[in-house]
C-alpha cells in the first residue's frame, strides 16, 4: 500500500463528488484548450488565406471589405472593375502572377467564383494550392465561347450532392446556362471549400449585364510580384487611380488581428474567471473532505502517520483530481475545437491547423496539476494541523 493508494481510495470513497470535481476541472480545461486552439486556428486561417498574394486590386472602397470578400468570401461584394485592369497587371514586368476573380451569384447559397486556371496553379510560394479529389480543372475558355464547366469546393459537393458530369442551374433565367461538374476539390479548410469555380467566359455569358457589356467586369485581381521591393511603387501607383485601389492583404490582416486580439483579451478574462471558479470548487471539495475526515485523520495520526504524510495524502487527492480532469479537458477541448472548427468552416470562416501539437498541451496539463495542488494546499494544511486527541473520540 502506498500514499497514492490511500489518496485513490479516498477519491473512490466519495465517488460522486470526485467525478463531479473531475468533470468541473475537465470542463474548465476543455474550455481553455478549445478557445486557444480555435483562436490560433482562425489566425492561421487568415494568414494562410491572405499571404500568398502581395496585392489585391479592386474597386475603390474599404480595403478590409475587398480582402474579406475576395479571399474569404465574407462581407458584401465590392463594385466591379474593368477587365483591362487585369490585362494591365498581366503585362506589367514587375508582376509574376495576376489572377482575375469575379464573384457572381450563388447556387444553393454557394457563391460562383469566376477565375482562370492560374487560381489553381501550385506555384512554389503558395502555402496550400487547391488540389482535385475527382475530375479535372476547367479550361480558360475564349470569351464568348464558354464551356460552362464547374469545379466544386469540397463542402459544395458534399452538401449539394452534385457529382462529376452532373448539370445544374438555379432559377428559370439560368436554364439556358446549365453548368457541368468537371471536378471536385479536396477540402482545404478554407473559403474555397464553399465556392463553385467557373471560367470567366462562362461567368460573363451567364450574367445578363456582363453579357451585353463591351468592357467585361471583374471583382478583383490577385497579384504576386517578382520582387517585394516593387511593392510600394505598384501599391502607390494603383491607389492614385480614381476608381481602383490596391490593398495589401498583410496590412488588412494586421487590422483584423488587432480586432481579434481585443476579443482574445476578453476571452482571456473569461477564462481566468473560469480557472478561478474551478480552483475554488476543488478547494471547497477538498476542504469539506478534510473537515468530514477529521476523525479518520486523527486515527491515522494515532496509528503513527506523520503530519507531512497526511498533508501529502490530501495534496495527492487534489492533484489526482486535477490530473484526471486535466487529461479529460485536454481531450475534450480538442473534440470541442474540432466541432467548432467544423461549424466555423461550414459557415465560411477562415480556420485551419486546429490540431497542432505544441507546448500548449503539456504546459496546460502541468498548470492544471499545479493549480490542483494549490487548491488542495489549504485543506491539506488544515488536515496537517488536525489535533489527534481532540478528534479521536466518537463524534
Amino acid at each position: 500500500m502506498t500514499l497514492f493508494t490511500v489518496a485513490w481510495r479516498y477519491l473512490q470513497g466519495r465517488f460522486l463528488t470526485s467525478v463531479l470535481t473531475t468533470v468541473s476541472v475537465g470542463l474548465g480545461v476543455g474550455l481553455v484548450i478549445a478557445t486557444v486552439l480555435l483562436t490560433r486556428g482562425i489566425r492561421e486561417g487568415f494568414i494562410e488565406g491572405a499571404t500568398d498574394y502581395n496585392l489585391i486590386v479592386g474597386a475603390k472602397g474599404s480595403q478590409t471589405q475587398l480582402v474579406l470578400n475576395v479571399i474569404f468570401r465574407m462581407d458584401a461584394p465590392t463594385p466591379n472593375i474593368p477587365v483591362g485592369v487585369y490585362e494591365n497587371l498581366r503585362g506589367d514586368p514587375r508582376v509574376e502572377v495576376a489572377v482575375p476573380v469575379a464573384m457572381g451569384d450563388a447556387y444553393q447559397g454557394f457563391r460562383y467564383v469566376a477565375t482562370t486556371e492560374a487560381y489553381f496553379s501550385p506555384f512554389p510560394w503558395r502555402r496550400r494550392a487547391p488540389a482535385l479529389s475527382a475530375g479535372r480543372f476547367f479550361r480558360s475558355d475564349a470569351p464568348g465561347k464558354p464551356d460552362y464547366d464547374a469545379v466544386l469546393g469540397a463542402d459544395v459537393a458534399r452538401r449539394t450532392g452534385l457529382k462529376l458530369d452532373d448539370r445544374f442551374f438555379e432559377g428559370e433565367e439560368m436554364t439556358a446556362y446549365p453548368l457541368t461538374v468537371v471536378g471536385v476539390l479536396r477540402s482545404t479548410g478554407s473559403a474555397d471549400d464553399r465556392a463553385i469555380f467557373i471560367s470567366l467566359a462562362s461567368y460573363w455569358e451567364m450574367n445578363e449585364i456582363s453579357r451585353k457589356a463591351t468592357v467585361k467586369p471583374l471583382t478583383a485581381v490577385l497579384v504576386r510580384l517578382k520582387r517585394l521591393s516593387d511593392l510600394p511603387a505598384l501599391h502607390r501607383g494603383w491607389n492614385i487611380a480614381p476608381d481602383i485601389q490596391a490593398a495589401l492583404p498583410t496590412a488588412v490582416l494586421l487590422s483584423i488581428f488587432n480586432l481579434l486580439s481585443l476579443v482574445e483579451d476578453l476571452l482571456l478574462i473569461v477564462l481566468g474567471v473560469v480557472v478561478i471558479v474551478v480552483g475554488l470548487y476543488v478547494f471547497v471539495t477538498m476542504y469539506n473532505a478534510a473537515l468530514e475526515r477529521r476523525r479518520e485523520i486523527a486515527t491515522m495520526r494515532a496509528l503513527g502517520a506523520r503530519r507531512i504524510t497526511i498533508l501529502a495524502i490530501v495534496l495527492l487527492e487534489s492533484c489526482a483530481v486535477a490530473a484526471l480532469g486535466g487529461l479529460a479537458g485536454i481531450l475534450g477541448g480538442h473534440g470541442a475545437a474540432y466541432l467548432g472548427a467544423h461549424l466555423l468552416a461550414g459557415r465560411g470562416g477562415p480556420i485551419t491547423h486546429v490540431f497542432t501539437v505544441s507546448a500548449l498541451q503539456p504546459v496546460t496539463f502541468g498548470a492544471v496539476v499545479v493549480l490542483g495542488a494549490l487548491a488542495g494546499l489549504l485543506p491539506a494544511v488544515f488536515a496537517y494541523r488536525t489535533e489527534v486527541a481532540e478528534n479521536l473520540a466518537p463524534l
Binding site: L3, T5, L303, G304, A305, R306, A389, L392, P394
Partner: protein, 233 residues
C-alpha cells in the same frame, strides 16, 4: 522478543487544559505508575476521571504538562513530534473504543495502513502478514469487506489486528468492549488477550466494563492513581 525493564513508567505526570481567562484545568496528576513488560494492567474509573487522557499521553498523541513518560526505555516526552509519531507507529498498538476503522478501506487495507505508516514490515510482506493476522482473529473470509459490511465484533477484531500489525511490544486499549454486547465482548476479549499474551505484549486497558475488569494481572482505580489538585492559575 520482549524488551527488558518495565513497558511503561510515568513519573509525576500532570496534564491540564486551558480554559477561559488563561486559567488551566488540571485533569491528571499521576505521581508514579509502572506497567511491567508482558503484563496486563486494567485501569477503571468513572467517566471523566482521565482514563483516556492517560492513554493518549502514553501513546504520545498528547503531551503532558509536566513529568516524564518512558516507554520501553525511551523517554517519549523528550522526543520531538515527528520522532514520537515514528516511535508510536513502531512500538505501540492502539485499540479504540469505537474501533476507528477507516470506512473507505477494506479490512485488509485497514491493517496494511498501519504497516505503511511504520515501515517496519517490508512492503512485499505487508499483505501476507495482514492476511495472517486477520486469519488468526477469525476474519480470513472477510479480508475484502469494508467496515460497514462487518458486524461490530468483527470490526473490533479488525481493529485488534491493526494494533498488532507492526508487532509492537505495547498495546493500549481504550474501552475495547464498550461498543459490543456482553457475549460479543467476551468473545472478542478472549481472542484479544490470547493473541497479546501469546506474543508477550504488554497491555494497558482502560475500561469500566465488568467483562474487562477481571482479565488483567493488575486492576487499578483511576481515583487511586490520579489526584489532580483542582483548578489552578
Amino acid at each position: 522478543m520482549t524488551p527488558a525493564g518495565p513497558a511503561v513508567t510515568l513519573r509525576r505526570v500532570t496534564k491540564s487544559f486551558p480554559i477561559a481567562d488563561g486559567r488551566q484545568l488540571p485533569v491528571l496528576d499521576v505521581e508514579h505508575l509502572e506497567l511491567a513488560a508482558a503484563s496486563c494492567m486494567v485501569i477503571t474509573g468513572r467517566s471523566g476521571s482521565g482514563k483516556t487522557t492517560l492513554l493518549n499521553l502514553v501513546a504520545g498523541v498528547s503531551v503532558p504538562t509536566g513529568g516524564t513518560i518512558v516507554v520501553h526505555g525511551t523517554e517519549i516526552t523528550a522526543l520531538p513530534e515527528s520522532q514520537r509519531d515514528r516511535f508510536r507507529s513502531e512500538q505501540i498498538g492502539y485499540v479504540f473504543q469505537t474501533f476507528n476503522l477507516l470506512p473507505a478501506f477494506s479490512a485488509l487495507e485497514n491493517v496494511m495502513l498501519a504497516m505503511m505508516f511504520a515501515r517496519t514490515i517490508p512492503r512485499r510482506q505487508q499483505r501476507a502478514r495482514a492476511s495472517a493476522l486477520l486469519g488468526r482473529l477469525g476474519l480470513g473470509a472477510r479480508l475484502a469487506h469494508r467496515p460497514a459490511q462487518l458486524s461490530r465484533g468483527e470490526q473490533q477484531r479488525v481493529a485488534i489486528a491493526r494494533a498488532l500489525a507492526n508487532d509492537p511490544p505495547l498495546i493500549l486499549a481504550d474501552e475495547p468492549c464498550s461498543s459490543l454486547d456482553a457475549s460479543t465482548a467476551r468473545e472478542v476479549l478472549a481472542v484479544f488477550l490470547a493473541v497479546c499474551r501469546g506474543e508477550g505484549k504488554a497491555l494497558l486497558i482502560v475500561s469500566h466494563d465488568e467483562v474487562v475488569l477481571g482479565t488483567g494481572d493488575r486492576l487499578l482505580d483511576m481515583a487511586d492513581v490520579n489526584t489532580p489538585a483542582g483548578e489552578g492559575a
